[in-house]
C-alpha cells in the first residue's frame, strides 16, 4: 500500500512540474522573445499584455510543485534544493525581477525606465528556462552524491548533457511563446510571431532528436522503457505532437498548434519522469545514495491526506484557470492598450 501511494505521488510530482512547464512556459517564451519581436513600445506592450492576466496564476504551479516536493518527499526537497543552492536562487531572483517588471514597467513614461524593466523581463524569462533544463538534465544523468552528500557546483552542472537540457527547455518555451503570440497579437507582430514559431520549430526538432540520442548514452532513462516497451507510447505522443505543431502552423490553426506544443511539453516531461522512476535525486556514484520515491517520502498518513487535498483542489484550480484562460484567449488590439488597467 505504502509503495503504491509513493508511486502515485511520484507521478503527481512529475505532473505538477509538467503543468508548470506547460503554463509558465509560454510566458517565459514571450519574455525571452520580447527584445526580438517587440520592435517598438506598442509591440512590447502587446506582448506583455498577452500574458498579463495569466502569468501570475501560471507561476503558482511552481510554488505548488515546490510545496508538494516538501510535503510528499521532504528529504528530496531538502537535499535537492540545498544541493542546487546557487542555481535555484538564481532562478528565484530571476522570477522576482521578472514579476515586478510587468507591474513597474508602465508606471513611469520614460524610455530608460522601460528599457530597464524590459531587460529584466528578458533575463528573468531566459535564465529560469535554461536553468530548469540544466537542473533536470543533471538529475536524469545522476549526480555526484556519496556518503558525505553532494559534491557538485554550478560549473559541474554545466556539462554537455546539462547544457543540452538547458537549450532544449529554452527552445520548448520559445516555440510555446511564439505560438501564444501568434494567437494573441495582431498585424505585423502576429506575422513575425508565426515566422518565429516556424523557424524555432526546426531548431526544436533538431535538438529534440539530439536529446533523445544523448539521453540513451548519458542517462539510464531508457531502462524502464526497455523492460516495459508499451511505455514507448509516451515518447511517441511527444513526436506526434511535435510534428503536429508544424502541421497546424502550416494550416494557420494557431490554437491547435499551441495545444500541440503544450502536449509536446507535457508528454516530453513525462517521458523523462517515467524513465527516472523511482529515482528523484539519483547518485551517479552508487545507487545506494540515491533518493527515490520509496526511501525519501513523507509518512503514509501525510501522503494520504495530501492526496485527498490534491484530488479535490487541483481539479477546482484547473477549472478556474481554464475559465480565466478562456476569458483572455482573444486577440489583442491596440484598443486593449488604451485600457487603463493594462500593463
Amino acid at each position: 500500500m505504502e509503495t503504491v501511494l509513493q508511486s502515485i505521488w511520484f507521478f503527481l510530482w512529475g505532473l505538477l512540474w509538467a503543468v508548470f512547464f506547460m503554463t509558465d512556459g509560454y510566458d517565459f517564451g514571450v519574455g525571452a522573445l520580447l527584445p526580438f519581436l517587440g520592435k517598438n513600445d506598442i509591440d512590447k506592450r502587446l506582448m506583455i499584455n498577452s500574458i498579463g492576466p495569466l502569468w501570475d496564476g501560471n507561476e503558482v504551479w511552481l510554488i505548488t510543485a515546490g510545496g508538494v516536493t516538501f510535503a510528499a518527499f521532504p528529504q528530496v526537497y531538502a537535499v535537492m534544493f540545498s544541493s542546487f543552492y546557487t542555481p535555484l536562487l538564481m532562478i528565484l531572483f530571476a522570477l522576482i525581477i521578472r514579476g515586478v517588471s510587468f507591474e513597474f514597467r508602465g508606471k513611469i513614461e520614460s524610455p530608460g525606465w522601460k528599457k530597464l524593466w524590459d531587460t529584466c523581463i528578458f533575463i528573468g524569462s531566459v535564465a529560469p528556462a535554461i536553468l530548469f533544463g540544466v537542473a533536470f538534465a543533471n538529475i536524469f544523468q545522476g549526480l555526484p552524491i556519496d556518503a558525505n552528500g553532494y559534491h557538485g557546483n554550478l560549473l559541474y552542472l554545466l556539462n554537455p548533457y546539462g547544457i543540452l537540457g538547458g537549450v532544449l527547455f529554452l527552445l520548448w518555451f520559445l516555440e510555446h511563446g511564439a505560438l501564444w503570440l501568434s494567437i494573441k497579437t495582431p498585424g505585423q507582430l502576429h506575422d513575425r510571431s508565426v515566422a518565429t514559431a516556424n523557424n524555432v520549430w526546426f531548431g526544436l526538432l533538431g535538438i529534440s532528436v539530439l536529446f533523445l540520442i544523448a539521453t540513451y548514452f548519458a542517462t539510464p532513462l531508457y531502462v524502464n522503457y526497455l523492460s516495459h516497451p508499451i511505455l514507448f507510447i509516451v515518447p511517441l505522443i511527444t513526436v506526434l505532437s511535435l510534428l503536429g505543431i508544424k502541421f497546424f502552423l502550416i494550416k494557420g490553426a494557431y490554437f491547435k498548434a499551441w495545444f500541440a506544443s503544450a502536449a509536446t511539453i507535457v508528454s516530453a516531461t513525462f517521458f523523462c519522469i517515467i524513465g527516472l522512476y523511482p529515482n528523484m535525486f539519483p547518485s551517479s556514484v552508487d545507487s545506494l545514495y540515491s533518493l527515490t520515491a520509496h526511501n525519501a517520502s513523507a509518512s503514509q498518513l501525510t501522503l494520504t491526506i495530501m492526496l485527498v487535498v490534491v484530488l479535490v483542489f487541483i481539479p477546482i484550480v484547473i477549472g478556474y484557470q481554464v475559465w480565466a484562460f478562456y476569458m483572455f484567449k482573444d486577440k489583442l488590439s491596440e484598443d486593449d492598450l488604451a485600457y487603463k488597467e493594462a500593463y
Binding site: 526537497y77 531538502a78 513523507a298
Partner: protein
C-alpha cells in the same frame, strides 16, 4: 560568521522584507472589495474611482509581495535542509495545502480582476475582489498554522528520526497558530486602514478631492477602529497562551527573572542580561504580569532564572519588541477613537490629519517587531522544545550563503525603493478622472 548565523540573517531579511508588503495586501484587498461593493450597490461613480485609485496602489504593493514570497518557500530547502528533513512531514504539507487551496485562487483571480473590468458583470467583478481578499486571508491561516507548529508542536510522533504526522486535526486546530492568525490578520487590517487614512489625510490637508478622501478616510476609520480593538483582544489571549506553552518567551517579554506569585509589571525596566537582573525597575504595577499571563492577579509567573541558560531567548530584544508592539497597539486604538469623534469634521482638524499622515509607518513597525518577538522569542529553538536552530541549517558552504545574503540585500533594497517610490508618487497624484 557561520552558516547558521548567515542563514538566519538571510531568512530574517527575506521574511521581514516580504512582510513589508503582505499586511497591506491583506488589509487593502478587503477595503478595495468593500469600495467596489458600494459602487455596485449604489451606482455612485465616486466609489468606482475609489476602487481604482486604491486598487492601483494595492497592485503595486501586491506585485512586490507576491514575488518575494516565492523565495521563502524554497529557503527551507536551500538553507534549512536538516530542519526540512526533520519536520517536512508536517510543515511541508501545510505549505503545499496553502498553495493548492488559497494561493492559486488569489494569483489567478488577481489577473482576472485587473484585466476583467469589461469582461465581467459589475457584480461578478466585485465578487472576484472579495475572493482575492478571502484567498489572501486563507493563505495566511495556513502559513500561521505552519508557524504555530514551530511554536507549539502538536499532533506528531517521533518516528524514523523525524517528526511524523499523527493527527492532522490537531495540527490544523493548533491553538497557537489560530491565535497568531487572528492577531496577525487584525494587525494587517489596521495597517491597511492606517495606510488609507494617512494618504487621505495628506490630500485633505491639501484640501483636494475632499469628498473622495473624506469617504475613504471614514471607511478606513471604522475598519481600523474595529481592527485595532481586535488586535488588543487577540493579543491578550495570545499572551496568555504563550505564558502557558512558552514560559521562556513570556518571561523574556517582561524581563522577569525570579519566579513569583503576584508578579508585577514595571513601567520602566532596563534589563541586565549578563547579571540576570534588571538594572532599573520603576513604576511597579503589582500583580499585573500575573494577570496578563493567567488572567489571575495572584498567579505564579516563571522567571528566567528557572529556565536553563541555554534555553533562554535573547532577553533585551524580546523585551523591547514586546514593549514597542504593545505601545504602538495602544496608540492605534487611541488614534482611531479620536478619529471617531472627529469623523464629521476631519477637514477642520489639521493637527489630527498631520498625525495620521505621519502614522503611516507605525503599523509597519508594529507588525515587524511583532514578528521579531514571535521568532526571536522562540530561540534557541527552531521547533519549540524539539529542535534547536543551530542543528537545523543545511550542510553548505559559508561562502554560498554569504553571497546569496549580499544578493538578497542588494536586490531587495532596490525593489523596496522602487516599489515604495511608485506607491508614493501614485498616492500623491491622487485619483485620476476617467
Amino acid at each position: 560568521m557561520d552558516v547558521v548565523l548567515l542563514s538566519r540573517l538571510q531568512f530574517a531579511a527575506a521574511t521581514m522584507f516580504h512582510f513589508l508588503f503582505v499586511p497591506l495586501t491583506l488589509g487593502l484587498s478587503v477595503l478595495v472589495a468593500y469600495m467596489e461593493t458600494k459602487y455596485v450597490r449604489t451606482g455612485d461613480e465616486i466609489y468606482l474611482s475609489m476602487t481604482k485609485f486604491w486598487g492601483k496602489l494595492f497592485l503595486i504593493n501586491f506585485a512586490v509581495g507576491v514575488v518575494t514570497g516565492i523565495t521563502l518557500e524554497f529557503q527551507f530547502g536551500t538553507n534549512w535542509s536538516r530542519y526540512s528533513i526533520f519536520m517536512g512531514d508536517i510543515f511541508g504539507s501545510l505549505l503545499a495545502i496553502e498553495a493548492t487551496t488559497a494561493f492559486f485562487l488569489e494569483s489567478t483571480l488577481i489577473g482576472v480582476w485587473v484585466f476583467g473590468w469589461k469582461k465581467l458583470s459589475k457584480k461578478a467583478h466585485a465578487l472576484v475582489m472579495w475572493l482575492v481578499a478571502l484567498a489572501g486571508s486563507f493563505s495566511s491561516l495556513w502559513i500561521l498554522l505552519a508557524n504555530g507548529w514551530m511554536q507549539q508542536p502538536v499532533g506528531y510522533v517521533m518516528r524514523n528520526g523525524r517528526a511524523e504526522l499523527d493527527s492532522f486535526m490537531a495540527v490544523i486546530t493548533n491553538k497557537f497558530g489560530i491565535l497568531e492568525f487572528f492577531h496577525m490578520i487584525s494587525s494587517a487590517y489596521v495597517l491597511g486602514a492606517f495606510f488609507v487614512m494617512g494618504i487621505s489625510a495628506y490630500h485633505l490637508l491639501k484640501k483636494q478631492h475632499i469628498e473622495f478622501f473624506t469617504r475613504s478616510f471614514k471607511i478606513a476609520l471604522v475598519f481600523g477602529l474595529v481592527g485595532s480593538l481586535f488586535v488588543a483582544i487577540s493579543g491578550d489571549s495570545h499572551g496568555v497562551h504563550v505564558a502557558q506553552v512558552q514560559p521562556a518567551k513570556f518571561a523574556a517579554m517582561e524581563s522577569h527573572w525570579e519566579t513569583t506569585t503576584q508578579a508585577p509589571i514595571h513601567l520602566l525596566t532596563i534589563p541586565d542580561e549578563k547579571n540576570e537582573k534588571n538594572l532599573i525597575e520603576m513604576g511597579s504595577l503589582p500583580g499585573l504580569l500575573s494577570f496578563l499571563s493567567h488572567h489571575d492577579f495572584n498567579a505564579e509567573v516563571t522567571g528566567l532564572k528557572d529556565i536553563p541558560k541555554d534555553e533562554r531567548p535573547p532577553v533585551l530584544l524580546t523585551f523591547l519588541s514586546f514593549r514597542m508592539m504593545v505601545g504602538l497597539g495602544t496608540l492605534f486604538i487611541l488614534l482611531t477613537i479620536v478619529g471617531w469623534f472627529k469623523r464629521n469634521r476631519l477637514i477642520e482638524s489639521p493637527n489630527y490629519l498631520k498625525i495620521m499622515l505621519l502614522s503611516i509607518p507605525l503599523p509597519y513597525i508594529a507588525i515587524e517587531i511583532g514578528w521579531v518577538l514571535a521568532e526571536v522569542g522562540r530561540q534557541p529553538w527552531i521547533v519549540y522544545g524539539l529542535m534547536k536552530t543551530s542543528d537545523a541549517a543545511s550542510p553548505i558552504a559559508t561562502s554560498q550563503v554569504l553571497f546569496s545574503l549580499i544578493a538578497f540585500v542588494l536586490l531587495y533594497s532596490f525593489l523596496g525603493a522602487v516599489g515604495f517610490y511608485l506607491i508614493f508618487i501614485n498616492a500623491r497624484k491622487g485619483p485620476v478622472s476617467e
